[in-house]
Amino acid sequence: MAIRRGRGVAAINYPTGMNLGGDPTQALVHSTPTGNFMVTLSSVDLGQGMKQIMAQICAEAIGVPTDRVVVDTADTDTGPHCMGTFASRGTHRAGNAVIQAAREARQVMLEVAAEELEVNASDLETDGQGNILVKGAPQKSISIFDVALSAHFKRGRSISGRGMFLIPRSYPEKETGAMKPSTCYAHACTVAEVEVDDETGEVTVLNVKNVFEIGRALNPKMVEQQLVGGSWMGISHALYETTEPYYPNRDHGGTDFNQYLMPGPGDLAQTEIIVLERPSADGPYGAKGPGEMCANPQIPAVANAVFDAVGVRIDTLPITPERILRALKAQAAN
């Protein structure tokens, strides 16, 4: 018996948003009488943290702390249209819509503040703590709480805004395929190290070092959640997962979590995550969509590491012990 070690690398990119565009998302923002802000959407939080990120984006754009923002989403009676949460589009599309809506609301807020302070709105700035200050004369200020009260009860202004983000749809040219699939791309490079048992074909992923370039880490802890979970799913895809283990034969499809194989908590690779940020030209604060691409590079990196370890190529996913063992036996026979 021999446990043989190998490592492999893979580098990838991934488009942000629906392929070829044409996927609008809207947002509405308004303030309450006491200067809290409601973001109204119909976007869906799948667990990736859409609601939290939209709150942070709105807070940044208006200039208030995140805990002053409430996100109300996914009620079609109240939330304006969103194409949906898929294609790494949620943060990018909805985030841009929220920024547009928030900026419009901010402008009204500054105008009301300007009237209260008897200055020009263009001379005002927010301190991020809930106050509006005169640039260069921060002692002259008004709280957003008071501005919202004034807007509602004194000046009859609606501190609100509408946002819409649409990448116009691109139609591929029939013969050449000339098209504009996406406006920005995330990037990744993964190095995986594995051990392969050459008598059983079993693979242990020892460690993965993932470098992801995602435009902007809007909330680094949430980015980390996505990237760590994605890296696990990539390894899972590489070595474990399928609903049809004997494809194209349709038999023996797993029907539960015992039969549908995924790495358990005792199978975890040591996982390193490094994030680079090259802000995208059209992303909300430069963000790209990291949620999907983070699960891709581990698959070929692990495949290449298996080859490095035992010298056989498994070009069919998943790379099961059986496929490795068959290849090793064929290799030995030659």
Binding site: R7, A11, A74, P248, L276, P318
Partner: protein, 455 residues
């Protein structure tokens, strides 16, 4: 996790207050106390349970359906068949003008995959619905099935889906989505080495811990509230409106809190039939996939076959790349024509190659329809591309990481689909990976930049 701020510092302003802050998630307190309300956490008096009678065959003609015993079963309120569905033949991407309509909500005369929905049973309890479902008698004439993409594309293969007429999706560009850039044959002719390899995958399930489902409540004003875990609220509402021939104003969808999606909840499968059940019974209806249904009935990530032929020079330059991709859509389109097309846009990967030829096919077989999943149209392609890159590097005796630097795309490089590269960062990711993994590459590669050459 480490943020490496030294990269791209010249094009990034780090002067933000809320963005970039590791704020606590506002939804987590609900998650850890069990108080977050998922769609199935809503319970309504008189709620009915919907269970589906499914095809046991890959491909069969339905001679007859007899629901008489099932209808008499205690606790049964309603049995639905194809004739109860106002617009039974549909396709979800019709909303963005991608047709034809090719799928039945409930099978009508034919089943095209093992597990296809045939009859819906609505009963007071899950148990009563299961018992009644077992009493539905469907008489099938089994037809030859095709489960292999290559077999499906051969002349004379059984036709999976008559709405297409052939076993592939017909794009405006023909039998496949094409990308043509440079002269790929001239590229091969001038290459030092040619390597053609084939890669395959089998279907993969999203396997969210929360299965697909919805709860529908008839409201007093002739409207229906649908609590759902769809990934796309209006997409699902608008498709339901078409299938039910019901004005969208009658539909109210509530969702947005989902127990994992990964692309598995963008099909419009459970909502229309549950709304129909609520409409015809006047009772709340719950239709929640069992785990078995989630694993084998809900759309998986498609199986793919990818054939890559490359021409490479001894110095490491890839001079020609031809990719032929096949996406196994299963019996119906769902999102697969879109996914195959996304693959065409993604190839030849993040590399600058002067001569490129891409064909991507969306193929129909008698299996569970596939659809979107995390990395849709790209994940399997990236596996193929990056294993191919490893093989090419070894073929010419070059370090696999250095080989990628030589070919990596940079700002301004023209892509095969004729868009100039913008915002590239592949090189920097590889430089950082080289450091992090202690995988040294020549200094000239560490000195490279994604910024435009000469800029």
């Amino acid at each position: 996790m480490e943020l490496r701020k030294n990269y791209f510092a010249d094009v990034r302003k780090d002067d933000l207050h809320e963005i970039g802050q590791p704020r606590a998630r506002l939804d987590s307190p609900g998650h850890v106390t069990g108080k977050t309300a998922y769609f199935a956490d809503r319970n309504f008096p008189g709620m009915l349970h919907l269970k589906m009678v499914r095809s046991p065959h890959h491909h069969a003609r339905i001679r007859s359906i007899d629901t008489s015993d099932a209808e008499k079963h205690p606790g049964v309120l309603k049995i639905l068949t194809a004739r109860d569905v106002p617009h039974n033949v549909y396709t979800i991407l019709i909303l963005i003008q991608v047709g034809p309509e090719d799928e039945t909500v409930l099978a009508d005369g034919k089943v095209r995959w093992k597990g296809e929905a045939v009859v819906a049973v609505l009963a007071e309890t899950e148990r009563a619905a299961q018992e009644a479902a077992a009493k539905v008698k469907v008489d099938y004439e089994v037809l030859p099935a095709v489960l292999d993409m290559e077999e499906a594309l051969k002349p004379g293969a059984p036709i999976v889906n008559e709405y297409h007429g052939q076993n592939y999706y017909l794009y405006d560009s023909g039998e496949c989505r094409k990308v043509r850039f440079g002269d790929v044959e001239a590229g091969f002719a001038g290459a030092d080495h040619i390597l053609e390899q084939s890669y395959q995958s089998s279907p993969i399930e999203h396997a969210p811990t929360e299965t697909t489902g919805c709860v529908v409540v008839p409201e007093p004003n002739d409207r229906f509230t649908c609590y759902t875990n769809t990934q796309a609220m209006f997409f699902t509402l608008d498709n339901s409106s078409i299938i039910l021939q019901m004005p969208g104003s009658k539909l109210h969808f509530v969702g947005g809190t989902v127990g994992g999606g990964f692309g598995g909840k963008v099909d419009v499968i459970v909502e229309p039939i549950a709304i129909l059940g609520a409409k015809l019974t006047g009772r709340p209806v719950s239709f929640i996939y069992s785990r078995e249904e989630e694993m084998q009935i809900s759309s998986p990530r498609a199986a793919e076959k990818v054939i890559i032929k490359d021409g490479v020079m001894k110095d490491g330059r890839i001079v020609a790349r031809k990719v032929t991709g096949y996406t196994d859509a299963g019996a119906y389109s769902r999102h697969s024509p879109y996914g195959a097309q996304k693959g065409a846009a993604h190839y030849p990967g993040p590399y600058t190659i002067p001569n490129v030829w891409i064909d991507t096919y969306c193929v129909y077989t008698n299996r569970t329809p596939s659809s979107a999943m995390r990395g849709f149209g790209v994940t399997i392609g990236d596996f193929a591309l990056e294993v191919q890159m490893d093989k090419l590097a070894r073929l010419i005796g070059m370090d696999p990481l250095e080989f990628r630097f030589i070919n990596a795309y940079r700002d301004g490089d023209m892509k095969a689909h004729r868009q100039p590269t913008e915002g590239a960062a592949l090189i920097e990711c590889m430089q950082e990976a080289s450091r992090a993994a202690n995988w040294p590459v020549a200094e000239k590669y560490m000195a490279m930049s994604s910024y435009a050459k000469g800029a």
